[in-house]
């Protein structure tokens, strides 16, 4: 699909196309990603992504660990949103075992996952704005993210690769000031998000750099498998948290932000609104965390009945799916992780055709990829 246009040297002067390599080391490719751009002057005629620099063989490792032993590995895939990865994995294994986590665990899981969604989007916003040239939002976003990481550290001891959840529920009870901390963060965050919006949303330079850049309409999104904010910005009002609720999402009211154009500006607006909605979910959740146990009926040895299960969650980057095949032993037979960034990155070629080189950085930023997840 991508190579046929590249073989055709049909440029105006019969000149050969220039291949510009945005190498694995580049300040803006958000990790080790190599993009070969076929240029005609300044216009991009095609791209080829070379990935695999961060491939660690996580799926193979999974076949050699027990279910609980594998749980910390999933954090390292999308290391910017480790809690979501953990949620997906633990829920998938719980489905495999036919158990459910108790209510209290579900609600605390929801709160932590939504905080992680805000943190992930903050990283995205800071780095995306930095790539386009706005130096200041990065520092503001990381300042807010610091508060979230402090909450994570108080809860489970780690900031980034948290391993916050266990198969069957939670290991740690919410610490004493958990509700107060979350509430204070959420109350503060409303004003901060307005700060970012003031800096960027109405800025004509920002609009000029992001409007009509990297357009991906709804049909293309679905065909290419791009999900998450990319799909919503194209106009499809669909969120897995509402379509097939998991954890405690069916208890809370929140909106699904939708864009119209499917361009970079719409994705920016969708993610900003998602941060606001996550904040609302957290506020609703902490009002009423049910009392009760935090760990379900799962024994020390996890040996699911032979079979398979597929469970997907709405991670900050898109649909994160786990396909786990069990052969009845304590180690999974096959763990397949459907990474949203891997599938979304495939859409880069379609999005970038016809744009200028300076837009490549903006489009890679708007895809919000994490190479740990792309390569696993």
């Amino acid at each position: 699909m991508q190579d046929d246009a590249l073989q055709n040297n049909g440029t105006l002067l019969g000149a050969d196309e220039l291949v510009l390599n945005m190498g694995p080391q580049h300040p803006s490719t958000h990790g080790v990603l190599r993009v070969k751009l076929k240029l005609d002057g300044e216009r991009v005629r095609g791209t080829e992504c070379v990935i695999g620099y961060l491939h660690r063989g996580v799926e193979k490792i999974a076949e050699n660990r027990t279910y609980q032993q594998f749980a910390p590995y999933v954090d390292r895939m999308d290391y910017v949103a480790a809690v979501s990865n953990g949620l997906g994995y633990c829920e998938a294994v719980e489905k495999l075992l036919n158990v459910e986590a108790p209510d209290r665990a579900k609600v605390i899981r929801t709160i932590l996952t939504e905080l992680q969604r805000i943190a992930s989007h903050l990283v995205w916003l800071g780095t995306h704005a930095l790539d386009i040239g706005a130096l200041t939002p990065l520092f503001y976003c990381f300042r807010e993210r610091e508060e979230i990481l402090k909450i994570f550290e108080k809860y489970c001891g780690a900031r980034l690769t948290t391993h916050a959840f266990r198969i069957g529920g939670l290991q740690y009870e919410a610490y004493d000031e958990f509700e107060k901390d979350v509430e204070r963060f959420c109350k503060d965050f409303e004003r901060r998000i307005q700060d970012y919006a003031d800096l960027l949303t109405g800025n004509s330079i920002w609009i000029g750099r992001t409007r009509n850049i990297g357009v991906l309409n709804a049909a293309d999104c679905i065909a290419l498998g791009a999900t998450g904010p990319i799909l919503r910005a194209a106009g499809v009002k669909w969120d897995l948290r509402k379509a097939q609720p998991y954890a405690a999402y069916d208890r809370y009211q929140f909106e699904i932000p939708v864009g119209t154009n499917g361009d970079t500006y719409d994705r920016y607006m969708v993610r900003m609104e998602e941060m606001r909605q996550s904040r609302l979910i957290c506020l609703q959740a902490i009002e009423n965390i049910p009392a009760g146990p935090i760990f379900g009926k799962v024994g020390k040895v996890i040996k699911p009945a032979p079979g398979e299960v597929y469970h997907a969650i709405e991670a900050p980057k898109g649909i994160l799916g786990y396909y786990i095949v069990s052969d009845g032993s304590t180690q999974p037979y096959r763990v397949r992780i459907r990474p949203p960034s891997f599938v979304n990155l495939q859409a880069l070629d379609t999005m970038i055709r016809g744009h200028l080189v300076a837009d490549v950085v903006a489009v890679i930023g708007t895809l919000d990829i994490v190479l740990g997840e792309v390569d696993r």
């Binding site: 679905i222 032979p306 799916g321």
Partner: protein, 218 residues
């Protein structure tokens, strides 16, 4: 159309007991008889639990069987998730029918599982999602080592990289793929890591020696 909903606990948990009892009585009785000191049977923790697949006969399955007949080898439901085992030769047609008629417009995932002891060792698994019906379906095709299943890129362009990854990890070549080459591993790598006969510690030491200039520690 089968939806994914939270399964009621009681009916599911009682079933494995019944199913477990029938296929494995010899295994259970043997340790119990030879360990008189362990009067309490600790069997539930020691034995492997039995599978939970139940045959599925829903509207959807009937439509598929009606359209494709013998190509649908089996229809099962595991933990409330339906899947069809189909003939590999007809996979492309079934996929096209799924997208066009049954409205499964999103190919959520496409992967493979290796069962080395079987004659046809690979299971190709396509996980489809329908926005219109808010439902998922799995299609499984059984593929042998030398077989070249048809590529799904003509139906869902997202299958491009997914199939490249299957080729990289399992060695299954897809016919009709626009550019089938390795994606995660370097181009000259020998071996397909997710096959069960590829040891966890194995590496392509020749490639490492040539390209990285070091002796691979494995």
């Amino acid at each position: 159309m089968a939806e994914e909903s939270k399964p009621p606990q009681e009916s599911e948990s009682s079933q494995p007991e019944q199913k477990a009892a029938t296929p494995a009585p010899p295994a259970k009785s043997a340790p119990a008889s030879t360990a008189p000191a362990a009067a309490k049977p600790v069997a539930p923790a020691a034995k492997a639990p039995a599978p939970l697949q139940i045959p599925l006969d829903s509207e959807l399955v009937r439509r598929y069987r009606e359209r494709f007949g013998a190509a649908i080898l089996d229809a099962l439901e595991d933990r409330k998730q339906p899947y069809l085992i189909v003939e590999c030769a007809q996979l492309l047609e079934i996929a096209r029918y799924s997208r066009d008629e049954e409205k499964f417009d999103l190919l959520e995932d496409f992967t493979a599982v290796d069962w080395p002891k079987r004659e046809k060792r690979f299971d190709l698994v396509a996980i489809l999602y329908s926005f219109a019906h808010n439902a998922r379906l799995r299609l499984k095709a059984v593929v042998g080592v030398e077989e070249h299943p048809a590529s799904l890129t003509s139906i869902w362009p997202t299958a491009n990289w997914l199939e490249r990854e299957i080729y990289d990890m399992f060695g299954i070549e897809f016919s009709g793929h626009p550019g089938l080459k390795r994606i995660l591993l370097p181009d000259g790598w020998q071996g397909h890591p997710l096959r069960k006969d590829y040891d966890i510690l194995q590496q392509d030491t020749a490639w490492v020696r040539e390209n990285l200039g070091i002796e691979s520690g494995q």
